[in-house]
Symmetry: D2
Subunit: 365 residues, 4 copies
């Protein structure tokens, strides 16, 4: 269990990094949504390894096949099966890792839980599992865009010690994609690329922060207790490999503010109730308030490094390990479409739940 | 919907801040656990308003009644109904707020979602809802302590700009409770109390950070995809009122580290596989690794302040608001048992799930 | 676990036959539904023991208290907590049953599962648990009536060997309630009453069949695979104590028909697509087709009888048992409101799911 | 939504009768179960069209591919993706049915719900969807057999008016498979085959009843309220296409018995608590009691017949319809492995739930 997310708009993923393929089943997508492979391929290409010199050299075209749920270019309301075959798996690379636990990797915990693991890669904890999320998230994104005009834009806020001060509200998707490192700040982007190049040469890795802004979410999505919109976003983001933190709106910085400065005054603009500031990050009491959703996700540095490390074997012998294999020195740029996909999945689910409860797509007044 | 959490160990809460009472149903608690009202009352008393001069003056004894599920001092395996009556509700205090939306409160979003709200308080978004969580969490905590020896200790890491550097690994529950502000650092605790006293006098409020350490969690709880242990903890924490951020282990600071420094080397100590450092916060690939779980939760400053604020009415008139009512200038100390309760609920659920999947309470080897 | 039903409109029940009380939490009821205690009490009174000379002599007023979720006579969209106190519990009646398993009762299986049980009655398997269902079902029923005009009418089709041939389509709730045995056939109702009186005198018990017709369900509710409307109705009905069978439309008799006779020809009447016959029972491929839903539920004879029976003790000794206590010789008349409640709960859930998926309450064309 | 079943052992199916293929994801299967394609293929072959002259002439090899979740012949504990390609789809056969609703088929209700449908077959309501159930059910069956010795044997109890009186307790799988019609009664089996041959010649169809016996289920699986073992079995069975009824143990006949005859006396045999009769069908208060589970499932006659029928078009014109295409005149023999698969899925789920709650696979004493 644990491979399904969502209540009404549901995603189930399957597949290991090595084996027949990875994919997903999207269940609960409303009927009559225009959907073709190209809608899904676009985001898969943004996640794909080998897309730029910054990423792992593993070559995967990651071409998606729609197995079911779409008929004559529109969704049927039935489950959408999506499959991406594994092509460039090189299990031989991993053979010598069969009994060794790579530090801060999933090797040990998967083996200690299940008593087994597919040692030909990271198994379910591999970033390759996120193919299914990005594919399913693309369907969610299409639904939200078509039916509500929702726009989801993620970007790299920080790589290691380099953080842009750009205003999330102004970030456009084109500017993000124009940067190899998916940072829309033209002044900082080259430095980030340089930092990644440098760390690759060292055989080390870097972490960073992805920020995501979601526009045009109607007020009223979410709920005030366990199904808070930000609680579900937090779960979605922490479910992404390598994520160590989540914050919405003011986040951890908000903990250092006074209420008088933090509260977002309500105002009326063009006949609509708005807030003057957005420390809430577009969510109050777990429910969207009509402002942009803004949240940030912290990624640790990639666990796989070429530097020599101490570790142990299954037989509890202490050994040293020098990793090989093909890996990204910094996963943060490729994580942007994954963050967007998880956001889309959470929002699509809340959209349908809100509609179920109230019969409306948006606010009560 | 949205008032149930957990899959096997499940909590459903009900009740508004004003009305007949608040409570919960705990479903899925294993049978034959020794349980009495005192096990639950202990944590309710730690959450209770009026417990110290730092908290709201609302007086509630919060005495819990066990309605079902316990027989001759032991659980039956049937749902445990718990009820706490509301006593000191003063709905009259709120009458003039009937049509005004308090900034950064739940008033606007609840009304925009549901088209109505109980304006005699915060409704379901009131901190009073957490009575049910603390009550249910106490059951989870007893289960984990009795069957696995799990110990959960939360404490105040930061109030506003004051942050203790105490090592979480050394913190004892007694030291936390000995501090009015639940900060186990005797050097910093008085300053924190002073800061809260000062902000109350100003009519303003403060935020802060709660840290939580969980000891003796066996390796193997959790799962590598959507049911990551840290993803469920993140959702649990973000579901607490006023929370804006969550981080586990190295968290946001980890995003500024290199892999060679961040990776936790595996070592063997007393015949057990351990990690030398704990940047992972006790969770790798969503599964516990046998080290202490360590996570932090950011709370924004309380929304209710006495200072004059700008806001709007339901009729979209801009007005000013001077809040009255009884509120905490800083909820962070009272949030400690709530954080612990949510952690207990998540862990009890994962304990049972792990046992269901593997037939074991702990690791495979 | 196992005490919650529904996905969007959710019911959680709690309480044993002996203890503080029984009740439920209704989660997911849309806001602004007019709801008062009288809406719930009406159905509780129809389920209540002691309502007529045909039922157990246990005296319970079963007065319901609304703990939460309703404000100024309307639902808030928050969970509705409902509580009914136990009054006339006589645990002493059961003392000698502490170690004896009553045949075909829940004593043995509850103890073999949990290793314990509340021997002061049937525990969770007691018919008293259905108080929570009837209370929650009354909310579902109000929602369906107010928002969709749905009408749910159950009645006794059979007691033991006595079966009415009345046409379900013509049955009115008033005619059902006019009969002590809830059989709207004035010719057969007295005979049924006589049969129950006779079996009570013998110290034995009778089974029977409840039939239920649901009118004005819009076409389109349900789904074609695991969430078939009839699959969820079947689960709901089999979850009622003493139920051994469920059939929809033609049911078991349909297995003896040919397709040419069983198929319901589509016709057009007053501009609407209808079926000429209704062997489908209003559901095709798991989805409502706009005709009356019709289904039947088989109840075994009450397990508790006064006649001498052979059984065993927890210590595996074979003994004989002569039951005392207060019980119905035939639960079927009192089961009618329980069947209706479960039907209402299933339908309310499917109503909201359909609205979530499609944005409509009813059919696509 | 609606394409996933189970809580811990979960099955998600996808695929239409026409399109890329049908399949499933099994989530929650414990690790280290020996599993190969042959374990799954065996049951798929029993479900396959074209397996005998009694079934549809559609030719499908239905060869299964394991996409994930199995490594070196054993399950990993990760989701098991299973895919069966569609081969002999002839959408052209259906072209003239594009706007016509076949009586008692899924055409109308799917279109009225979704506003669209894949008219090249039955869509999700096609029996072809059950490929995913049988494949997933084979995994559940292997788990139950290997870990608990559970044996599941379904057989044809009735075809149309022909019903065998064979004792379910004596039925062996080999005897079932030895009959073309899957009726283990050698005296009645030829007559059933004759009846099917005759109705095919007429262009008509027949219904029937499948009975299923499950041996070696430990006492203690299930729960006494909404998660009754028989309630989940009922839902599973009613979710199979063409099913109109379910009964467990004495079923509808039990409604005609007196309690003194219906109650199953407890006895002690070879040191175990047993019941002398089994009117309960192995389940009391929703929990298995250690006796054989016995239940029956009623199938209506196949909707697709060659005889002329009256129906309507999407444009609400009344027309006549003469079906073509390839269909079974009686689906009951092929339904046997589907009934077994659904039983296996329900039982595997309850096995894991019971183990999660109690830490045991079986009874408390």
């Amino acid at each position: 269990m644990g491979n399904t997310t969502g209540r009404l708009f549901r995603l189930t993923t399957f597949g290991e990094s090595h084996g027949g393929g990875v994919g997903c089943v999207v269940d609960g997508c409303p009927p009559l949504l225009a959907l073709g492979p190209e809608d899904i391929q676009r985001d898969l290409d943004r996640r794909r390894p080998g897309q730029s010199r910054l990423t792992t050299s593993r070559q995967e075209t990651d071409a998606v096949e729609i197995l079911s749920g779409v008929f004559e270019g529109r969704t049927l309301g039935s489950p959408i099966g999506l499959l991406v075959r594994n092509r460039d798996a090189r299990p031989g690379d991993y053979e010598r890792l069969q009994d060794v636990f790579r530090p801060s990797h999933a090797d040990y915990t998967q083996e200690v839980k299940y008593g087994t693991r597919n040692w030909q890669g990271g198994g379910r904890a591999s970033a390759r599992e996120t193919v299914g999320r990005v594919a399913g998230g693309a369907v969610a994104r299409k639904l939200l865009a078509d039916q509500c005009g929702v726009e989801i834009v993620g970007f790299v806020r920080r790589i290691h010690t380099l953080e842009t001060v750009i205003d999330a509200g102004t970030v456009r998707a084109e500017a993000v994609e124009a940067s190899l490192v998916r940072c829309p700040d033209p002044d900082l982007s080259p430095a980030m690329i340089g930092a990644i190049d440098a760390v690759r040469a060292e055989g080390d890795s870097l972490g960073g922060v992805v920020e995501c802004v979601v526009r045009n979410v109607p007020a009223g999505w979410g709920a005030p207790v366990f199904d808070k919109l930000d609680a579900d976003l937090a779960a979605g983001m922490l479910s992404i490999p390598a994520v160590k933190g989540f914050e919405v709106g003011s986040g951890f910085a908000g903990a250092q503010m006074k209420g008088s400065a933090h509260n977002d005054p309500f105002i009326v603009r063009e006949g609509r109730i708005r807030t003057e500031t957005n420390h809430s990050g577009g969510i109050q009491a777990g429910i969207s308030n009509g402002e942009d959703l803004v949240f940030r996700v912290a990624f640790k540095p990639t666990s796989t490094i070429r530097k020599l490390q101490r570790t142990v074997t299954r037989a509890k012998e202490e050994v040293t390990l020098e990793a090989r294999g093909r890996h990204d020195p910094c996963v943060v740029p490729r994580a942007v479409p994954i963050v967007e996909a998880m956001a889309a999945l959470v929002l699509a689910d809340h959209y349908l739940r809100h509609r179920g409860l109230t019969g409306r797509a948006g606010p009560a007044f």
